[in-house]
Structure formats: structure tokens, C-alpha cells
């Protein structure tokens, strides 16, 4: 199984490992809850070097990405970022990704580790259609660290000369961290302020340890999952997959239909005119028992007709009650509606709420 260049460092710090997206990744160092809290109150450091970095460069880059993604990359200002989706011809989601515009004709696309091959193949085949040649998968050359939490900026600022106040949310700049040239992206997957720092693999140990010495707490993927769940952020393979379209997943705003041609346009245009049969919702429960992925949902405690399914769920470490995301038949998905989840044979009520469950105070 592939490992990031920090695998030995994680082991040295006492991490347990898990298979994530085909990679052997740290799931926790000591305690999921302590790592979760570190991100909410201080600053956590995640090794996310498993993620895919795809560069799109050269004349025609913006036109190519406009054709390949459901969003409009050409509208992103230089130095800014945008969340987007790559869909197939039927409007099914191949992956969700972030597009960073480095220059007029230079973009960085960060995609999920488990979808690296699918995304690269889709982009290359779409590039071939347009006669564009500027797609390069540079995932193997890069380490990616996420530093997240209310103290993340202060800690990162102590090891970089770049004035981080010049980088607002969803922007990208370049700078030196612990003497290493990096891309500094003000993005994340935890619901907190913070940065994702991208740089050459060979410097991974140096930068990782510099950030820990500056005060960041190493955090594993278990806490990353509960953090992103509280923040209402989807995880591919749970909330998103090839059988889900952007309208079901609540991403109508990400799809720019008002333009000529992009992959999936016809299907998405038709889907946009209809009410989707199911919708992604947020659910909260009472007590301490979490509804988890794949648990079925019913309209009430007596009903045996399934109306939906949980896609992610946990006892929220920050809020203290169970939270979950899941798909529900649209006519049962109204905010405030109460449904029933089957937790290993026990039916418990859950109420539909607006996402996210947690929003940081600004």
C-alpha cells in the first residue's frame, strides 16, 4: 500500500494507521477526541499528501477546465480558488475538487486520493478532445499538509516570511516555510480557518516537524472525518459518488449551466429543471447513539418502508449529540421534519436540520 513521505514520522509519533483511498494513513496519534478538539480550539496538523495534485498549464488551460468541470474556472481570479465537481456525461459525480488559479493560464487542481486515476483519466481524455496538452499529474512529487484551527495562521506565520494576512479565504500564494518553497492555500476541510501547504516531497519531514515545533498538534484522519462532518462537508464515497448528481447533493450553485458546452451539460440541464427524487440532508439525534453510514431511514418508528439512508454519522465531539448526513426522498426532506433511523435494530428519531452543524465564530 502506498505511504506518504511522512509515514515513518507518524509511526515515531505513535500513530495507528488505516487504509484510506488505498493509502496507509495515520488514523490517530493518541485520541480522536483530543485531536478533534485541538483543531476547534488551537491548531491541528494533517498529512494529506495522499491527495492528488494535477497541474493544468499553457494556452487554453482556462477553456479546457471550463469544458471539463461543472464550474467555470475562467471566472476564478488569479490567486483565488473555487470548489468544483467533475461529472460524467450523465451528470454523475466523478469527484469533488478544488481549483486554484495560479496565473492566467496556470491552474492547480487538488482531487481525492481514491479518485486520482479516474480524475486524471477523465481530464486527459477531455484534453484530447480539445487538443489540449497541458495536464500533468504531479501527485507523486508533492507533500500536502493541512494546518487548521483558530491558531493555525499564527503558527504558520511564525515559520514563513509571507504575510498571511494578504491571503484571504479561498486564495493561494507562494512562500517559504522553514526554508522550503511552498504553495500556501487558505483552504481546508475542518470548518476552521487554516492553510493547506503544498511543497516538494523531499522536504516533507522538515516542514512537518517545523510546524509541530511551532505548536501545531498532529491529527489523524479519524478527527478529520468528524471535523468535516460537523462542518457539513461531503466526503466522496459517502455523500458523493457516480450515482449521485449535483442537484441531489445540494450543489446546484456549483454548476454553471449558462454557457455553451461542458461535459455533462445536457444531462445536468435536464436534471436542473426537475425536482430531484432524493436530497442530501443534515440530521440530528438525541442521546449518545450515533447513526452511522448505511443505516436505513424511515418516516416514523413503525414504518417499514425505507425512505433514505445515512451516508456519514457520529456523536459530534463539539456538540455532544449525534449528527449525520444522509439522503432522503425529497418529499420527506423538509427542514424540521422528524424521521426514524434504524440503529442496529433500535429505532431512534432524528430531525432534519440545516447544514452545517457547526460554524466557527468569526
Amino acid at each position: 500500500m502506498p505511504q506518504t513521505p511522512l509515514h515513518a514520522e507518524h509511526a515515531r509519533l505513535g500513530a495507528s494507521f488505516t487504509d484510506f483511498g488505498g493509502w496507509d494513513m495515520p488514523v490517530r496519534y493518541s485520541s480522536d477526541l483530543a485531536e478533534h478538539e485541538a483543531v476547534r480550539t488551537n491548531a491541528g496538523l494533517f498529512d494529506i499528501s495522499h491527495m492528488a495534485e494535477i497541474f493544468v498549464q499553457g494556452t487554453g488551460s482556462a477553456t479546457f477546465l471550463d469544458y471539463s468541470l461543472v464550474g467555470q474556472a475562467s471566472l476564478i481570479e488569479n490567486g483565488k480558488a473555487k470548489y468544483s465537481l467533475i461529472c460524467n456525461q450523465d451528470g454523475g459525480i466523478i469527484d469533488d475538487l478544488i481549483v486554484y488559479r495560479l496565473a492566467d493560464e496556470s491552474f492547480l487542481v487538488i482531487a481525492n486520493a481514491g479518485n486520482r486515476t479516474a480524475v486524471v483519466e477523465a481530464l486527459k481524455s477531455r484534453a484530447a478532445t480539445l487538443g489540449f496538452v497541458g495536464v500533468t499529474d504531479e501527485s507523486d512529487d508533492y507533500a500536502l499538509l493541512a494546518i487548521q484551527g483558530p491558531h493555525a495562521t499564527k503558527i504558520l506565520q511564525s515559520v514563513t516570511d509571507t504575510d498571511l494576512s494578504t491571503l484571504p479565504y479561498y486564495s493561494i500564494g507562494e512562500g517559504t516555510v522553514s526554508g522550503v518553497h511552498t504553495y500556501l492555500c487558505r483552504t481546508g476541510y475542518t470548518g476552521e480557518d487554516g492553510f493547506e501547504v503544498l511543497f516538494n516531497n523531499s522536504e516533507a519531514v522538515n516542514v512537518f516537524n517545523a510546524l509541530i515545533e511551532a505548536g501545531a498538534v498532529p491529527c489523524g484522519l479519524a478527527s478529520r472525518d468528524t471535523l468535516r462532518l460537523e462542518a457539513g462537508m461531503p466526503l466522496y464515497g459517502h455523500e458523493l459518488n457516480l450515482d449521485v448528481n449535483p442537484y441531489e447533493a445540494g450543489f446546484a450553485r456549483v454548476v454553471r449551466l449558462d454557457r455553451d458546452d461542458f461535459v455533462g451539460r445536457d444531462a445536468l440541464l435536464e436534471l436542473s429543471t426537475k425536482t430531484p427524487s432524493r436530497k442530501l440532508v443534515g440530521l440530528v439525534g438525541e442521546g449518545k447513539r450515533a447513526a452511522r453510514a448505511d443505516y436505513p431511514l424511515y418516516s416514523d418508528s413503525e414504518s417499514t418502508v425505507q425512505i433514505g439512508i445515512i451516508t456519514s454519522g457520529a456523536l459530534s465531539p463539539t456538540l455532544g449529540y449525534p449528527v449525520a448526513m444522509g439522503y432522503l426522498e425529497t418529499d420527506q426532506s423538509e427542514l424540521g421534519n422528524t424521521v426514524s433511523v434504524d440503529i442496529r435494530g433500535t429505532r431512534l428519531p432524528m430531525t432534519i436540520v440545516k447544514l452545517p452543524f457547526y460554524k466557527r465564530s468569526k
Binding site: 480522536d32 477526541l33 479519524a222 447513539r289 457520529a314
Partner: protein
């Protein structure tokens, strides 16, 4: 972490400490660490009958659900209220304050020794 030698073990990671005709039952440090932070414990009610290697409770962490298997036939005579109100005790002291239930029994099944359990979990 070594497993105490004064008790017996199951392949499902329960430990059993026998005093007279009552067995105190918990999960091992190995199991607690694999689960991660325990956030909810669902224990059988006092008076419930237990059946050898049948599920009688659940131990939930943030990431997963662990099942509590009854290591012997008997009747639940006590549950640990401490772990119900402070589930993290299962992580902090799995072999002590983090015990789960006490079961009164008449006959003991054959269980694993600490040495056998060490071998199963790759310790020792």
C-alpha cells in the same frame, strides 16, 4: 501493554476476572485502543441472562461500534455505572475502573490464558 495474568480472555477481546461465583467482565486494553475514544456504552440490564459468546452489549467510539460478547453463561448482577456516565474510563483504565459488568455463573467455559491472548494480539 501486558495483559494481567490473574484473569482469562476471549478471542473477542473480553477479559474475565473470577471471584467466587461472580465474574467481572471488561474489554482489554488492546480492544480499547483499537476502538479509539469510547463515547457510549450500552450494557445489559441487571437480571439479564447471558449466553456464552452471544452479544450482550455495545461499546461505541467516535469511529466505530464494538460488540460486547458474554464470555460465559450466567446472570448480570451488577453493571458499572462509572463507564455509563464516563465512557472514556474504558480507555483510561480498561482492566480496572473501566470494567463493564459482573455476571453470576455456575460453570465456567474454557477461556484463553493471558499468555494465549498475548499470542493472539501479537504482544508479549
Amino acid at each position: 501493554m501486558s495483559n494481567p495474568t490473574n484473569r482469562s480472555y476471549t478471542a473477542e477481546h473480553e477479559w474475565v476476572l473470577v471471584e467466587g461465583d461472580v465474574a467481572t467482565i471488561g474489554i482489554t486494553a488492546y480492544a480499547a485502543e483499537k476502538l479509539g475514544d469510547v463515547v457510549f456504552v450500552d450494557l445489559p440490564k441487571i437480571g439479564t441472562s447471558t449466553t456464552y459468546m452471544k452479544i450482550c452489549g455495545e461499546i461505541e467510539s467516535t469511529k466505530s461500534v464494538g460488540e460486547l460478547y458474554a464470555p460465559l453463561d450466567g446472570e448480570v448482577v451488577e453493571i458499572n455505572d462509572v463507564v455509563v456516565s464516563a465512557p472514556e474510563t474504558v480507555n483510561t483504565d480498561p482492566f480496572g475502573a473501566g470494567w463493564l459488568i459482573k455476571v453470576k455463573f455456575t460453570t465456567l467455559p474454557e477461556l484463553m490464558t493471558a499468555e494465549q491472548y498475548d499470542a493472539l494480539t501479537g504482544e508479549g
